[in-house]
């Protein structure tokens, strides 16, 4: 089996990019794309593919961090609320400094800071992260309105800022490049580094890791901060796409991210998971979202279909495991 079930995945654990666990997802995705394309040829138009990829990029950036975090057996429900807040902070900093670098830095500092606090609450205060980050979610939802009553407008008119969301490098949208880089870093880290191995180990068996002299708290803290930084990046891209810092943005974003991660086969109990699975999960959810509009179906199905897909994919995965075992 692939690295996903192994507590400490070594280089020997199989070098194929697509583990057999992800095969089910890849097949569902392929079948879906073909079916939608037959029904509505606009689906594979350049404009639409770019639109899908740009939406995927936002989710994938945060989901990359979230995958690491969930592998360490923690979770962060505050990413949606943080996403909105980061955009407002970044935009305000841009307006104040007229410097893209400083604006970006402010966004990263805020996102990372939220991650750090989440991490400290989980590791030092020992608050279950499901609860701790619900608390953080509430504080951020309230806090963003204390920070700004309305959307922070673009008063700086920096052209490079607009490119963050809407720009291209060659034919590729800028957000997709950000997502690709972050995904690649997360992939390499989890797959080929000692740090990655420890991350799996800490989720699989925290006690054993602590006995072996490592600081499991630090690893978890690291994963929280990485997730927060990813939110910082995504928040800036979203602010650029909307040309404003929107305090109302990001509603339900945390559920999309977490749904993509667990759809990708990462276990909520930690120690098991794959970032490639997350990528497929993100693509699947966003293709469904897009396909329903392209086909002109009732948009309420955008809730029903992902719900069914999450359950069916998990079911198929378990059936496949059983077939392999017998």
């Amino acid at each position: 089996m692939s690295e996903t079930t192994h507590p400490s995945p070594g280089r020997s654990a199989g070098s194929q990019f697509l583990g057999s666990e992800q095969l089910v997802l890849a097949l569902i995705l392929a079948a879906l794309c073909i079916a939608i394309s037959i029904a509505a040829p606009q689906f594979y138009s350049e404009a639409n593919i770019i639109a899908i990829l740009r939406q995927c990029a936002l989710v994938l950036i945060v989901a990359s961090g979230m995958t690491m975090l969930i592998i360490t057996a923690e979770v962060d429900l505050s990413v949606g609320a943080s996403l909105a807040f980061v955009g407002c902070i970044g935009m305000a900093a841009l307006n104040a400094t007229h410097s893209l670098a400083l604006g970006f830095l402010a966004a990263l500092a805020f996102g990372g800071g939220v991650g750090l606090i989440n991490g400290l609450v989980a590791t030092k205060l020992k608050v279950n992260s499901l609860i701790g980050t619900i608390g953080m979610m509430m504080m951020l939802q309230g806090g963003v309105y204390l920070f700004t009553r309305e959307a922070v407008q673009n008063h700086h008119h920096i052209a490079a800022f607009t490119d963050l969301g809407a720009g291209y490098v060659g034919p590729i949208p800028v957000p997709v490049i950000f997502a690709a880089v972050i995904f690649a870093v997360a992939y390499v880290t989890l797959r080929f580094t000692t740090l990655g191995r420890y991350i799996y180990a800490v989720g699989a068996n925290e006690k054993a890791v602590r006995l072996s002299g490592m600081r499991s708290d630090r690893l978890k803290l690291f994963a929280f901060v990485v997730t927060g930084l990813c939110v910082g990046v995504a928040g800036m891209i979203l602010a650029s796409l909307m040309n404003a810092g929107q305090p109302t943005a990001g509603r339900g974003f945390e559920l999309t991210v977490i749904a993509a991660v667990i759809l990708g086969g990462t276990s909520l109990f930690g120690g098991r998971g794959s970032i490639v699975g997350t990528l497929l999960g993100v693509l699947l959810l966003k293709v469904i979202d897009n396909g329903i509009i392209i086909l002109g179906w009732n948009q309420d199905l955008q809730m029903v279909v992902p719900g069914v897909v999450i359950i069916v994919a998990s079911y198929l995965d378990i059936m496949r495991n059983r077939a392999n075992a017998s």
């Binding site: 309305e150 969301g165 509009i293």
Partner: protein, 341 residues
């Protein structure tokens, strides 16, 4: 006494107040349970209420349901237990506050509704959503005739969740058809009323139908989300018209100043709604005869029109009451939520 149309606000408000004070008993406390206090629209409704209550010397308190019907019921119960004299409610959902009205009646509590009509209500202060969309639609039609070769292919960034927003979209399409009978709604989207969701669904719709040339949003978040999707797709704004609704914050002013396609905004003057609601509360408290629907005016703003009603300094927007009070409200709405059923 139709003071709202004729009086200059600043100088005559005191006059009006004395006139009120002589004719009527003032309630001591008014409680307002709003639907969604952090939204700009309600922020401005509350501002209008606060200003008017202060003038009349009434203690005014606000509770926020934050879009949660269960919380709305709880907050209204709190107010009744506290013993406010009049309750103003913006229902999270018009069917959901029927038991509240029943409870209020059994407690002899005067209630004024804002926004949506409810079975068994005394009176409601609200704009006409259908008319708001309709008049903006007529203006959009005229614009399209002149500048878009008479073609109108509309992407509606809507919100099916609320009857008010459904009415706006319907009104817009009916209005535009008075000028361009062959106008069509190419896409009827659920943008959730949120900028990021509106952006996402609009991206998909624009990818499917590249011939769209008018974006209509049921609020500013929706129209701006649609426009941002247009820009993110790398399209030029030549040959595009964007129409927003609400006009409650700075966002639309920013867009009208900076975005070449953002030409029309259907203004709904939330401050005026708040102002009118407090006056209605005073009347109901005194047992005066009030119409079932007190209409608060709306008007399409084209190009620089917004300067008639608002002035902006830095990041604060101030109301020009003279301008807003000069807008005529219709006696009755062309269509209401009752027509949707």
């Amino acid at each position: 006494m139709n003071w709202s149309k004729s009086l200059l606000f600043a100088s005559a408000a005191t006059l009006a107040m004395t006139a009120f004070a002589q004719a009527q008993d003032m309630p001591k406390r008014i409680g307002y349970v709003t639907n969604y206090a952090t939204h700009e629209w309600y922020q401005n409704v509350i501002k209008g209420m606060e200003a008017r209550a202060k003038e009349l010397g009434i203690a005014f308190e606000v509770q926020d349901a934050n879009l949660d019907i269960a919380k709305q019921v709880a907050a209204a119960e709190d107010f009744m237990a506290k013993g406010v004299d009049v309750l103003i409610i913006t229902p999270v959902n018009e069917e959901g506050v029927v038991p509240l009205l029943r409870q209020a009646k059994s407690n002899d509590m005067a209630v004024v509704l804002e926004g949506n009509p409810v079975k068994g209500m005394t009176t409601m202060v609200a704009i006409c959503d259908y008319d708001t969309g309709y008049h903006a639609g007529v203006e959009a039609g005229k614009y399209a005739k002149e500048n878009l070769n008479g073609v109108a292919k509309v992407m509606n960034v809507g919100l099916p969740l609320l009857s008010a927003t459904v009415l706006r979209s319907q009104g817009f399409m009916d209005g535009i058809k008075t000028e361009i009978p062959e106008a069509v709604m190419v896409h009827d989207l659920d943008g959730g009323g949120n900028p990021d969701r509106a952006l996402e669904v609009s991206s998909a719709a624009l990818a499917k139908n590249s011939d769209i040339n008018i974006i209509y949003g049921i609020n500013d978040n929706s129209s701006l989300g649609g426009l941002q999707a247009w820009k993110a797709a790398g399209k030029s704004q030549d040959g595009l018209l964007t129409v927003g609704t609400g006009g409650e914050g700075l966002a639309f002013i920013n867009a009208m100043e900076n975005e070449p396609s953002y030409k029309i905004e259907a203004a709904m003057f939330p401050e005026k709604v708040g102002f009118t609601a407090i006056d209605a509360a005073v009347k109901v408290f005194n047992g005066e005869e009030v119409p079932e629907h007190i209409v608060s005016p709306t008007a399409p703003m084209i190009g620089e029109d917004w300067k008639k009603y608002y002035s902006v300094e830095g990041t604060t927007r101030t109301v020009n009451w003279e301008g807003i009070n000069s807008v005529q409200a219709p006696e009755k709405c062309m269509k209401t939520s009752a027509d949707l059923k």
